[in-house]
């Protein structure tokens, strides 16, 4: 039934093997690996896999984990509906109505 795949990122379905393959293709830093493989770009916003991916990259490059730079992590920390966001108090933005004309 299920096969022996080891998932690094469950949201985007990235296996550990694929991550290593992508590294082998020349993607040697986390920002590009994230975009190429999809690691950390899923619905969980990278909560589930960024540190594992970074640790794996340190192993692949043979460097200290502390040398791996964390990728930028964008707000929001959980997906929010446009309805929720639009209800916040910020100046309503509409076309400059040019009523003076």
């Amino acid at each position: 039934m299920s096969h022996p795949k080891t998932f690094l990122c469950r949201c985007e379905d990235v296996t550990l093997e694929e991550f290593r393959e992508a590294y082998g293709e020349g993607f040697s830093e986390l920002e590009s690996l994230k975009r190429y493989t999809g690691v950390g770009t899923g619905f969980c916003q990278g909560k589930g896999c960024m540190s594992e991916a970074a640790a794996e990259l340190a192993r692949l490059r043979g460097i200290e984990p502390g040398q791996i730079r964390l990728t930028t992590i964008r707000p929001p920390a959980e997906p929010l509906t446009f309805g929720q966001l639009a209800a916040l108090d910020e100046p309503i933005f509409h076309a400059a109505q040019e009523e003076e004309e």
Partner: protein
């Protein structure tokens, strides 16, 4: 295989391109296509890390100046064949651009633009609000007064484009160095002689400044004054859904643009006239703002209320490298041999890059006069030949 080296840079090169965004990579690729050897691309962070990787990926031909229309038209032709050309799927999808306005007073200009675009063989049509519903069925047309639609406009995935170029460059022997910062350009008697980096110095007779928002300070180091300003723009991506939106919808009234990517996400942004234009990259701040998230959501729902329960996944910011007339600066500088720039794309570098890369490469290798490059030279500002396009959005 993309060779992203982190080693010392080579001692010499025939040409050095600064910046591995679409402009640097497309130009490097075209130079290699023309037979040039020993090409080096230097990138201070990673491939596509500047404005290319932060853009919305739109490519449109709907402009109000003939020159912009022709440029974009050439680019669209290149994008149509890009996956095949590079052997890399760049996901260029021609869902069209639906350009709407909420202002009656814009309508004559829209009709004029359509006429001009049609004369240039761009298949744009003018649409009544009701006709927009045939293209975007759930659009709220209550405030829309008119629109134009060109079905051949489209979107591509920016990272796939730069990776595709990088791979193709690699096959042609171009060397790309990431994590390598250019610290200075060296000149002797009005000639470029070397590029200094934090990983060594490269002796080279030719430099192409493709550094986007950093182009201005790079040029300033050798006394070339660019009028470029840096402007922060924000953008966001939603959760991934089944296709429901074909074109890019863009409003010349409030500056919102949104489309649905091949991954199924809504990708969109909105211009903000409150953003300052900064003189230089030292202020390059690309953090995200709550103001953008709210304004985008409000503007999106005003045109597409059905998205109320769709979720925003991520928002980010990037820099536009803006010129006074919102047109790029191409070519060289009189009295400085071996220096070229391709910058100041003002938010349209992704759509124009493949085409300007091709023209720049031809110009650099042959020195042959190119009327587009000429009209977009830095000199135009001192000549006073400034021709702004009315359709600057986002």
């Amino acid at each position: 295989m993309i060779p992203l080296t982190r080693e010392q840079v080579p001692a010499t090169a025939d040409v050095v391109l600064v910046g591995a965004g679409i402009n640097g990579l497309a130009t490097a690729y075209e130079l290699a296509q023309l037979g040039m050897k020993n090409i080096v691309v230097l990138e201070k962070t990673y491939i596509g890390s500047g404005s290319t990787g932060r853009c919305g990926g739109g490519i449109r031909q709907q402009w109000t100046t003939e020159e912009n229309i022709r440029l974009a038209q050439e680019s669209v032709r290149m994008y149509e064949n890009m996956s095949a050309e590079l052997g890399y799927q760049v996901f260029f999808r021609q869902g069209g651009y639906l350009m709407v306005t909420e202002n009656e007073n814009d309508l004559p200009a829209l009709r004029d633009a359509v006429a001009l675009q049609q004369r240039c063989d761009v298949p744009t049509d003018f649409l009544q609000p009701q006709e927009c519903l045939e293209i975007v069925p759930d659009l709220d047309i209550s405030r829309i007064k008119g629109a134009t639609f060109c079905p051949r406009d489209g979107t591509a995935y920016p990272f796939a484009v730069v990776w595709g170029y990088a791979r193709a460059c690699h096959r042609k022997g171009v060397k790309i160095y990431i994590g390598t910062t250019v610290t200075d350009l060296k000149t002797t008697e009005g000639r470029i002689t070397a590029v200094e980096t934090d990983r060594g110095t490269i002796q080279t007779p030719l430099v192409v400044n493709c550094a986007g928002p950093w182009a201005r300070s790079l040029a300033a180091g050798i006394g070339v004054e660019l009028p470029n300003r840096q402007e922060r723009h924000e953008i966001m991506v939603s959760e991934s859904l089944k296709p429901f939106l074909d074109p890019m919808v863009i409003s010349i009234s409030n500056g919102i643009y949104f489309s649905q990517s091949m991954r199924g996400e809504i990708v969109g942004g909105i211009g903000d006239s409150d953003e300052p234009r900064l003189p230089g990259p030292s202020r390059f701040k690309t953090h995200s703002g709550m103001r953008f998230a709210v304004r985008f959501a409000q503007a999106l729902l005003s045109y597409y209320p059905r998205a109320a329960e769709v979720r925003m996944m991520r928002q980010w910011a990037g820099m536009y490298d803006v010129t006074p007339d919102h047109r790029p600066i191409l070519g060289g500088v009189d009295g400085l041999d071996g220096y070229f720039h391709s910058c100041g794309f003002s938010g349209h570098g992704f759509m124009l890059g493949p085409m300007t890369g091709k023209r720049m490469a031809r110009f650099i290798t042959t020195g042959r006069r190119d009327e587009i490059i000429e009209s977009l030279s830095l000199e135009r500002f001192s000549r006073g030949d400034i021709q702004a396009d009315a359709f600057v959005v986002g």
